[in-house]
Subunit: 114 residues, 2 copies
Amino acid sequence: MEKCLFCEIAEKRIDSKIVYEDEKVVAFKDIYPQAPVHVLIIPKKHISGVTSLEEGDRELVGHMFIVSQQLAKDFSVYQCGFRLIVNSGPDAGQAVDHIHMHLLGGRTLQWPPG
Amino acid sequence: MEKCLFCEIAEKRIDSKIVYEDEKVVAFKDIYPQAPVHVLIIPKKHISGVTSLEEGDRELVGHMFIVSQQLAKDFSVYQCGFRLIVNSGPDAGQAVDHIHMHLLGGRTLQWPPG
């Protein structure tokens, strides 16, 4: 079975710029940043995407939002603003099959969001 | 005190195209759709934005993701893909101070997400 890239990052088998970690989630810098601040927040538990979430995962996903508050403070975008994005499937360009939340900030973000 | 637009929608004091409702959340069509499918998911409870979330709101926010699964099925974007977006503050263009999750789908979504 092929290893999941983001599981490997969470387990620190692959190098990344980790900016936050707790028991349940890890956050690290996106290697292809689309804004001055571009961080990915992932659960340590392997969940392949939004459509794989189970009812028991509610609290874990909600926790990713609480973590986004801390990251927004750490990267000084808490007041000026930031955007949270979760892609699901091909039309959204989900690139890794491990659920991840993009946090973008540090510039004016356009609308539509892609 | 000025009424919150999205609280008014949730209470059905203002007309909207509601596409989903349960005890905790309401979903309705965005009046300025940016894709063939563009729905907003909001909690009935007034929370002004991501930065106002409290630890006890984790399950509620996670529930919005579970609801997004149902909506993606209802609008036939579950397989082809969809994007979930939550804006916080001015740089992200948060337009209403009541936390809301955009669900976009039905076309190829570009990157960066705004």
